[in-house]
Symmetry: C2
Subunit: 249 residues, 2 copies
């Protein structure tokens, strides 16, 4: 069933006028009519069943029928923080990280990032990525749309993102045969905690960035013995987190 986000609306028994983009999608893409059912996520992040009551020109109205007993969110909040990647990889990371359950997606300009976002373009880039996250959240039936943000450097990232546990995907860890840090970090997390996960761009992270992370209690963790591309590592991380918390426990 189609799912939409109405994140500024609180539960009501009254008829709702749907926002224009949702009304347009329902009536022209899905050819909805009075009685067509769909799901909405309200400000409380809960899922509700609703149906179209009437369509009057460009205006579409609906009523909320009942709350659905579903929870598809990870038991911990995961922030994916990726050094600016090349090409369209920011789009791929945003779409896939949303599907895989991320709470927030941050891109930061790292010393070895080849890609740079000119200051004039940053807000438009983030706006575009936020739209991708919203679409992916609807498609994967999330209850939360991950927020997409930009930081000018790792200092800004570390100053802004607080978390109970912080890890950096660190290729050298894998080379040194370190295998247990990710498991250990996940075991430290309690329900509702936040996990900050940091990924370098194609060129990896610079020595002073690593040093700064250590000052902020960010722990290096390997993601297995194969070398993963910059856009693949966050997907591995989120899949492993889901397997650990949602399938094993």
């Amino acid at each position: 069933m189609q799912r939409y986000f109405l994140t500024k609306v609180t539960k009501t028994d009254d008829e709702l006028e749907l926002p224009k983009d949702i009304a347009h999608h329902l009536t022209t893409v899905l050819r909805a009519e009075a009685g067509t059912k769909f799901e909405i996520v309200l400000a409380d992040k809960q899922v509700y069943l609703a149906h179209v009551t009437r369509i009057e020109g460009l205006l579409t109205f609906a009523i909320i029928d009942q709350q659905l007993d579903v929870n598809v969110e990870l038991p911990v909040k995961v922030v994916i923080a990726a050094g600016l990647p090349k090409g369209d990889k920011a789009e791929l990371i945003t779409q896939k990280a949303t599907e895989l359950g991320a709470t927030k997606i941050a891109f930061f300009d790292s010393k070895r990032s080849v890609a740079k976002w000119a200051p004039a373009k940053q807000s438009r880039k983030i706006e575009r990525l936020q739209k991708i996250a919203s679409g992916a959240a609807e498609q994967s039936h999330r209850q939360v749309i991950p927020e997409v943000v930009y930081y000018n450097n790792i200092n800004e990232l570390l100053a802004s993102e607080t978390a109970e546990v912080k890890i950096v995907a660190w290729e050298e860890s894998a080379k040194n045969g370190e295998q247990s840090q990710l498991v250990q970090s996940l075991n430290e997390l309690k329900y509702g905690d936040t996990l900050l996960t940091i990924f370098g761009s194609e060129g990896g992270l610079a020595t002073d960035e690593i040093a700064l992370m250590q000052q902020h209690q960010v722990v290096p963790a390997g993601l297995g013995p194969r070398i993963l591309r910059t856009e693949t590592a966050p997907l591995y991380m989120l899949s492993a987190i889901s397997y650990h918390f949602e399938l094993e426990n």
Copy 2:
């Protein structure tokens, strides 16, 4: 360090003439000269350190110095079998599944596949995907290049692919709250066993395809509560397998 596959060559103390594509890459892309070191994987799937001995026009020669003590392969063989996906998703699955450790990647025409590969184009498609797998195997420093194959339908797939454990990623499992089958299936695998994992295309799998799989002892397994796109599910699967075997155990 750059890694190449020489999968038809057995270990030798003699000077080797390198294949044209590798010679070209070494000399023109990497600007190698006599003495430049690189890694090669030979027919025994072991990694060796080698160095360029001389470059004579288009011919490049090298000598194998020593075997390196590395193993980056998963302890079980994983076959990813995906219903034909739309657009360029077969490329994405091939590249990412290679990075994440798959042994073999099969695409099969499923009843609900919107994408179809015309018979005349199948071998060219597979050839192209095989090249992507080879490139990704080099980049992620694999010791095995996954074989890419095509099956006309699920019957062919099930008749050809034998495996100790077979699972199908099944969205309905997730909706029913099933959470432990993947963990259970992974626990059944012994070192060197083969795991066949099957994924539907965008439209999912048809009822009679599911029935046929049951006859072949394919078990449905959920991949967590969120709905994953057809190209994301294989990446989740491989990441979970790596986490289970390489980080936890």
